[in-house]
């Protein structure tokens, strides 16, 4: 007996029911694959974003975040800073592989509109850095080349009025190498804005990180124009060996400085993953419901098929078919249904990954530039395998019922 042909013919006898069952399985598979892809992609995107910061550990002033919230929400000033001496102390730590001090400040961009005095409409993030230690920590930073950008370089150590722009900052301000760039800052302790002009000496290639929107100036220049000499916003650190034990030891050594707090970016990564954990759990619940509905659909379709074909099974058994052959035939029909549905669903999920990514970005605007949906061959294989396994599970009862039919009773009941 050719089971494949027989199973296919049986399914083809009820094309609408077969198609609907396949669609049901396909939809459940597409949801499951998309969710799995989001789980994989989001973790990968977070990891990449964190890695591109270059730091494993950030040291910042205690209380700094509360002041930074003011800065962020109102566009004003008020970050708390840690003393530069903390950097000098911490850099002696034997576990440190690289360390870089960073000063962050926000320059307001004067706005306008049909009405006068509409206030600032934009802000530019100014990072005061030590070019050598910063570039060492972020070796992937490259200068943009091409007309208008050739000859890009970091500012000279003694050039106070030179700046390097991130890709997006340059694009937004329409700046090129050699152009001037104006910054207006209200220095700490003063009330009137001061105007500063910088010569752009380099524009960085796009990195997909916060560096793209940043204007880099020499550390001491930034401290001076913001009126914060001898102060830093963060100190970025990479350790020779980065693991939980080393991190705890490092943290313990430097938490003793009263002004600072030590933050591992691994912790931040975990926090970010847990941020969408709730959302992912909810979507997973929806996916589980979809899978259950699909299983019930498969069960219903196969059960109906078995009921309708009671006499047929009776005749098959009367002419010599064994129980296991009937059982196998029903399972094979289920397998075809589930395989076709899973294949279609996986194809839809893989083909629509871009759309899913765009939708998720719209719903969960997390500022990640890397793809948030990552559909791998392994994920597709798992989804197809899972759909078949669950489908076969749903088919056990109808198949057992069909196999257990007595030929004479089966033929009589259908007459």
């Amino acid at each position: 007996m050719n089971y494949g042909i027989l199973a296919w013919k049986n399914l083809a006898r009820r094309p609408v029911r077969t198609a609907l069952t396949v669609v049901g399985v396909g939809m459940a598979t597409a949801v499951a694959v998309s969710l799995g892809g989001f789980n994989l992609g989001f973790r990968a995107a977070i990891s990449r974003s964190i890695e591109q910061l270059g730091f494993q550990v950030m040291i910042m002033a205690k209380g700094c975040p509360y002041e930074a919230a003011t800065l962020m929400l109102k566009g004003g000033t008020g970050l708390l800073y840690l003393p530069e001496s903390a950097h000098e102390q911490i850099r002696t730590d034997p576990d440190i592989e690289a360390i870089t001090p960073v000063f962050l400040g926000v320059a307001e961009k004067p706005a306008g509109g049909p009405e006068e005095n509409t206030g600032p409409s934009a802000f530019t993030l100014i990072a005061g850095i030590e070019r050598e230690s910063y570039a060492k920590m972020k070796p992937w930073l490259q200068f943009k080349s091409g007309p208008g950008f050739d000859g890009g370089r970091w500012f000279s150590p003694d050039a106070a009025a030179e700046a390097v722009m991130g890709f997006e900052a340059a694009e937004y301000e329409q700046r090129k190498v050699g152009d001037l760039f104006y910054i207006t800052v209200v220095p700490h302790g003063k009330t009137e804005p001061e105007f500063h002009a910088f010569r752009i000496v380099g524009v960085l290639e796009r990195t997909g990180t916060q560096d793209d929107g940043t204007v880099f100036v020499p550390l001491h220049t930034a401290q001076r124009i913001f009126g914060r000499e001898g102060q830093l916003t963060i100190v970025g650190v990479t350790l020779r060996q980065f693991n939980a034990i080393r991190m705890r030891e490092f943290e313990g050594r430097w938490m003793s400085i009263p002004e600072v707090q030590v933050v591992s970016l691994e912790q931040v990564k975990g926090a970010l993953v847990s941020l969408v954990g709730t959302a992912q759990t909810m979507v997973a619940a929806v996916a589980v419901i979809a899978i259950l509905v699909a299983m019930i659909g498969v069960l219903n379709a196969i059960l109906m098929s078995v009921y309708e074909r009671t006499a047929e099974f009776g005749i098959l058994k009367a002419i010599g078919a064994e129980r296991r052959q009937i059982f196998y035939l029903v399972c094979l029909e289920t397998l075809i249904l589930c395989f076709a549905g899973a294949l279609a669903g996986s194809g839809v999920a893989a083909g629509g990954a871009g759309l899913t990514d765009a939708t998720l970005r719209r719903l969960l605007n997390l500022g990640l530039t890397q793809p948030m949906v990552l559909i791998t061959p392994r994920l597709l294989a798992a989804a197809i395998g899972g759909a078949i396994a669950l489908g076969l599970l749903a088919a056990l009862w109808p198949a057992a019922r069909a196999a257990a039919l007595r030929p004479v009773e089966a033929i009589r009941n259908q007459e």
Partner: protein, 262 residues
């Protein structure tokens, strides 16, 4: 999360519980603030990722209502030269009439232009459109409100203009000089500038910068003139069906009598 949170200059997101131990002792609100700020720092700036930067109103509802108090609704239309049926010709048309070179990096055919159509009921009150032009120390964003019938400027304002002389350049009397100008005036200016400088019919030639403008701010004044012309050209191209082309052709004929009009 509320969508308006994302309108801040930094990206703001709240995160879960895997924070350093010392913060678990702090009140919940403080922890949330900490998380928001830290992640804002991590991802600040990444929202700007775009291929080409267009020029949109930062607060369209408020700004358009200020320009047209009687307005009841507005519509945005996004246009790009590269999406026009004959994009290469259109871009050439644009370059030729701008009378100054387009920046190959920041003024390409893929730049998105946002046109605001302002309505009172079903009646079209006006068009508002902004352009970016590179100024001396940063971008200048020049918006024009124009009459949909005459294509004349009814209002000019700067959304971005950062220069030591920005107060003088933003002055209302300086901006009001542009009221009533059309693209035809700029085309006629090309002729008068070459053939009859100082002619009383040359409205563009009569535009004057603020008194005692420092020499280094003249770059921005010229950028503003270029920006206004660029803005009017884009309006002519996308909304007025190149209605001012006869003026361009006539000016060119007069300046180069042997050349035939395009």
């Amino acid at each position: 999360m509320k969508s308006n949170v994302y309108d801040q200059p930094f990206i703001t997101i709240a995160i879960g519980d895997a924070m350093p131990r010392q913060f678990h002792k702090k009140p919940l609100r403080q922890k949330m603030v900490w998380r928001i700020v830290l992640l804002s720092t991590l991802f600040a700036g990444t929202r700007q990722a775009q291929a080409a930067i267009g020029c949109t109103l930062s607060n369209p509802g408020r700004d358009l209502k200020t320009l047209y108090p009687e307005m009841t609704s507005y519509r945005e239309e996004l246009r790009e030269i590269r999406r026009l049926p004959e994009s290469a010709n259109a871009f050439e048309w644009f370059q030729e009439r701008l009378a100054s070179p387009l920046d190959p990096v920041y003024e390409g055919a893929d730049t998105p232009y946002t046109f605001y159509l302002v309505f009172q009921g079903n009646r079209l009150l006006g068009y508002v459109h902004g352009v970016n032009v590179p100024g001396r120390g940063g971008v200048i964003q020049i918006f024009l409100a124009v009459d949909p019938e005459t294509a004349a400027i009814t209002r000019l304002f700067f959304q971005r203009l950062e220069t030591p002389s920005s107060a003088a350049l933003r002055d209302r009397t300086v901006r009001d000089q542009f009221q009533g100008l059309t693209l035809a005036d700029f085309y006629m200016h090309d002729y008068f500038q070459a053939a009859s400088p100082g002619h009383e019919a040359d409205k563009v030639g009569r535009l004057s910068p603020p008194a005692r403008l420092p020499p280094d701010a003249w770059t921005d004044w010229h950028a503003i003139l270029r920006g206004v012309r660029k803005n009017l050209l884009l309006l002519d191209l996308f909304l007025f069906h190149r209605r001012h082309d006869p003026f361009f052709n006539r000016a060119r004929e007069l300046l180069n009598p042997k050349e035939s009009p395009s």
